[in-house]
Symmetry: C2
Subunit: 596 residues, 2 copies
């Protein structure tokens, strides 16, 4: 039985309209056209594109992979045609600025479309995903001339983009990069060096590829404060903006990877390549972080996308495959055995996948709307508040949603049993594809360090309050509501432990920074579970109101059932994370390096 | 940086000699020659074989995989030669009976060698592993004639074996199998049907392959009580016992899998194949369970093997790869950055891997020694007690150690960062290879059901007491020992919760069997963590004595450090498992089947 995917539009609409009220986005200046109806219409089109164009290429793309010959990278059969359809449909231009030919729709909408694309075909999604990152960095930091030349092409998707950070000897520790940029007389630079792990670094989908490259000027100070950002096109545009002279950048190899095999991961050799500086000298890392933060959230959506696809495959199989009889007696006497969905352990896996996916969807879309608020709200104080929350939640969404994607993919395989291990059924591909999301854009351990090392202390805890205050207020307002008590109770207790862990961590980390490092991962995990509990409480509240009003009662009953499962069966994981985060660094650090 | 493997002989000796005192095995009748010195000598030879012959074939075997052409299966380059060396070294005959040419050494020793083989090359280990299962089933259930004809060849490895259970429409639910066995005039049978997922079903390593096949006689009752077991050789031996006439069994295809690509997973078509019955009519499942129980423990050792190999790879990388500086200040001023082993989150992963591996090693070797006691002790009461414990712990070892293998492989990849995702570094292969161990020989969900549904209630809780009594006695004896208090405390509390969960489960499951099913997986997980805590308490006790005696102090201090880490940082996971197991089936089962 092959994998299956239908965009979960009903669930998406529930979150967007009923839980988050995206109509408040259309009240923001510049988003007047993004009415809830437009949201729905765009999402229906996106669903068709993902289900009909991208999903059918997912398995064959994995089997065929990309090929590399004489410096040329070819994507798997069908990818070129699908990409042409994709840009024709305007999907690369969805949230880009109208000044550069974009549709200027909210980022929230982009978030949702990203989830669908990644459910359907994660490897395909890498190509437009990287372009979006490049677009954002150029839009935020480049000169008007560079913007005018490159943004329209990145927006309409005829050109694509990359982020060139990693070198063979350094990934996270970018202060060590060796790629050099030498100024030329005409204001441009000559870039020389080797970059690795460059997604979409070379391929056959677009007529040009725009690399954003971190490099060091000759007079650069040591470390991360000496890095500049350069725009290096594969083909240098001529006076009319058409791709002309081949630049000094070449693909040296593509990596042989565990998964996302249809995404070309390239070694790029820059040899006196012509480039233009983006932003200020030595400030390249700040500019790159514009891309990275957006990219981290996008990677989180990749996790959710896989998590949803794995769930759908697992449900289809659990309803179809028969084995044994229900423990409480035969449920399907007409069949030679009951479908495995009757077995409690199978159901535990299905419900866990479902509760995690739906909770993560609410959380990530919420942060999506806050991005729009942070860019478009007329009040700078409101913009700042929204941006604070986005910053706080970025490492949590990146790490937790990618862990979720991988874990759900594995739950899906487990439900398939031995058949899950066979490539043709498509479930094991989700495991292999999801695995990269926990590693790139900063491993999930790095995300945890970002959370405890940077985000918690930022502005004397200001970022943290952007989550703690609304959670606190919500609990205070709803804890006596008889319809919600059973759900608010566990959420409130978990939130209290999170506050306790936060206070404990802040205190211990001052005396010894290893305390923050040792607690980081379990602390992030705990924070994410509490955030999901918050989302489930809110979703249950909405569902209760809808049920009372007689609206789509079955659908909203399912939300309540899943909310209760989350609180009883998923949230308790925070107890272990709490205990471990509070236990301290001593046993973690006790071994000398050479004792391992 | 490529993966690396050295057999952890010092750790193995610690468990065998100092913790488990294997000299008591050599005091069992029949094992007089298996002195501790012999153990060590065999293990040193096994280490050489695994490190030098099997490990170098692991990566290339994965890349090349098995090939299938015109009914012929070819193993990857080097496998034939390695297999020849393997059987020449007598490794297939290690624990087989001297009557059939075996060395008759204890099963415990076999367990340890299995761990090493699976660290070095899991896919290779499948071939002799399946043979051992076939050997055991024939030795336990077949006629003397079949034994005399087949066991010497399986023992010396010139022939190999398989287990043919699964059919396309049924795996766990064997009552549904359709393969038929029709009696012939000469006392043999004619077998017809299709079996899938047959490991080592066809290959080029041995001159004959002996299939053990579940099939139904014409008069068979419905369900699992109508299944018989047949021995079906690929080539029917002639009067001299040499492989002669080709039998009616053919490989129809090999599966394209996520991992263990060098292990041929075959579709086998039986078409009027000649077979002989093993055991009694309609009692095939019982006979097959002889193989299955041994196989389940062996699969557990596969998990530990991968867990150990992943740990070693991760340590080597963490000491070599540099990135950033220690949070508490530069540790390696001579290097441009500190090795990542200084970072607390990396260390958390390394310590977790280490604590799980060493705890699981102690637990599984303990059960290995109990197998020997259950077979060789002169007192039937002692044999029964030992067998009870083995039965109780079999699903726990299968499920927990394979989860451990997969999780540790993923921790290894995480430490490698993006490099872990690249095939040439070898870490992602561990993830793919380990994944099957959670699925075959009964998925880990099935193991959990076996534990709560069969093992807990067996003999009115008699099996359970074989673990609870010694744990209880140990806590009572040691809890006041000042040197052990800090370790016994957490173990005792966790054990108390396990007792509480057991009592709660027994009570609730009587009213509603879904309660047992819903709690099964978290209950098994909790049980395993408590069992590991028991092992770590014992290991810490031994280490404390050795340190006091001035013996190999550094080594034993590392044991103490890891024991403390286990209690503070790993064991708390049981809190979540406890909460979830106690929460009940209601929310797990709330959704109707068609609501998913």
């Amino acid at each position: 039985m092959a994998a299956t995917y239908k965009a979960p539009l009903r669930d998406i609409r529930f979150v967007l309209h009923d839980v988050l009220d995206v109509s408040r986005i259309s009240r923001l200046p510049g988003y007047e056209d993004a009415t809830p109806d437009i949201f729905d219409a765009v999402l229906e089109e996106a669903a068709k594109m993902c289900e009909n164009e991208l999903f059918p290429l997912n398995r064959p793309g994995d089997e065929e992979g990309c090929t590399f010959e004489n410096g040329v990278v070819r994507t798997p059969r069908g990818f070129k045609e699908a990409y042409a359809t994709f840009i024709e449909g305007g999907w690369t231009a969805l949230a880009t600025h109208p000044e550069y030919g974009g549709q200027g729709l909210p980022k929230t909408l982009n978030f949702v479309v990203e989830e669908m694309i990644c459910s359907a075909n994660l490897a395909f999604g890498m190509y437009p995903g990287l372009s979006a990152g490049a677009y954002n960095a150029i839009a935020a930091h480049a000169s008007d001339e560079l913007k005018a030349r490159y943004l329209p092409k990145l927006s309409d998707g005829t050109w694509s983009g990359t982020m060139c950070l990693t070198e063979p000897h350094c990934g996270t520790d970018l202060g060590l990069i060796r790629t050099k940029a030498v100024p030329a007389d005409d204001g441009s630079f000559r870039i020389t060096g080797t970059k690795i792990f460059i997604s979409a670094g070379e391929h056959d989908l677009t007529e040009n590829i725009i690399h954003l490259v971190l490099a060091k000027l000759p007079d650069a100070p040591e470390g991360t404060r000496g890095i500049s950002l350069f725009l290096v096109p594969k083909f240098i545009p001529d006076a009319n903006g058409a791709p002309a002279e081949r630049n000094g950048v070449a693909c040296g190899a593509i990596e042989h990877k565990m998964g996302i095999k249809a995404s070309a991961t390239c070694v790029l050799n820059f040899d006196d390549a012509v480039g233009w500086m983006v932003g200020k000298p030595h400030r390249g890392l700040q500019a790159m972080f514009t891309m990275m933060n957006v990219a981290r959230l996008a990677v989180g959506m990749q996790g959710l996308g896989i998590g949803e696809a794995a769930y759908q495959g697992a449900v289809a199989y659990a309803l179809d495959r028969t084995s044994g009889r229900a423990l409480t007696g035969t449920k399907y006497p007409d069949r030679s055995a009951d479908p495995i969905v009757v077995h409690p352990d199978v159901r535990r896996n299905l419900m866990t996948m479902r509760a995690l996916n739906e909770g993560a969807r609410a959380l990530s879309y919420w942060i999506g709307t806050e991005i729009d608020v942070s860019h478009h709200h007329p009040d700078p104080a409101v913009r700042q508040e929204a941006d604070d929350l986005v910053q706080l939640m970025t490492p949590i969404i990146k790490a937790f949603l990618t862990d979720l994607g991988f874990d759900n993919a594995n739950r899906g395989v487990q439900i398939y049993g031995g058949h899950g291990y066979i490539r043709e059924h498509g479930m094991e591909q989700y495991v292999r594809d999801a695995r990269i999301t926990q590693l790139y854009e900063g491993t999930n351990g790095i995300q945890a360090m970002d959370l405890v090392g940077r985000k918690l202390s930022a502005g004397m805890g200001r970022l943290l309050r952007r989550f703690f205050h609304p959670a606190d207020a919500y609990i205070a307002a709803k804890k006596s509501d008889p319809a919600l008590k059973e759900l608010i109770g566990p959420f409130a207790k978990a939130f209290q432990r999170l506050q306790q862990a936060t206070a404990g961590l802040a205190q211990k980390a001052m005396a010894n920074p290893d305390e923050a490092g040792a607690a980081a991962s379990p602390y992030l995990r705990m924070f994410a579970l509490v955030a999901l509990a918050f989302m489930w409480a809110k979703m249950a509240e909405v569902a209760t109101v809808k049920i009372a009003a007689g609206e789509d009662v079955d659908f909203h009953q399912r939300k309540l059932k899943t909310a209760r499962f989350f609180m009883e069966q998923v949230l308790p994981e925070h107890l272990a994370a709490f205990a471990v985060a509070m236990a301290g660094a001593k046993t973690v650090m006790a071994m000398a390096d050479d004792e391992f």
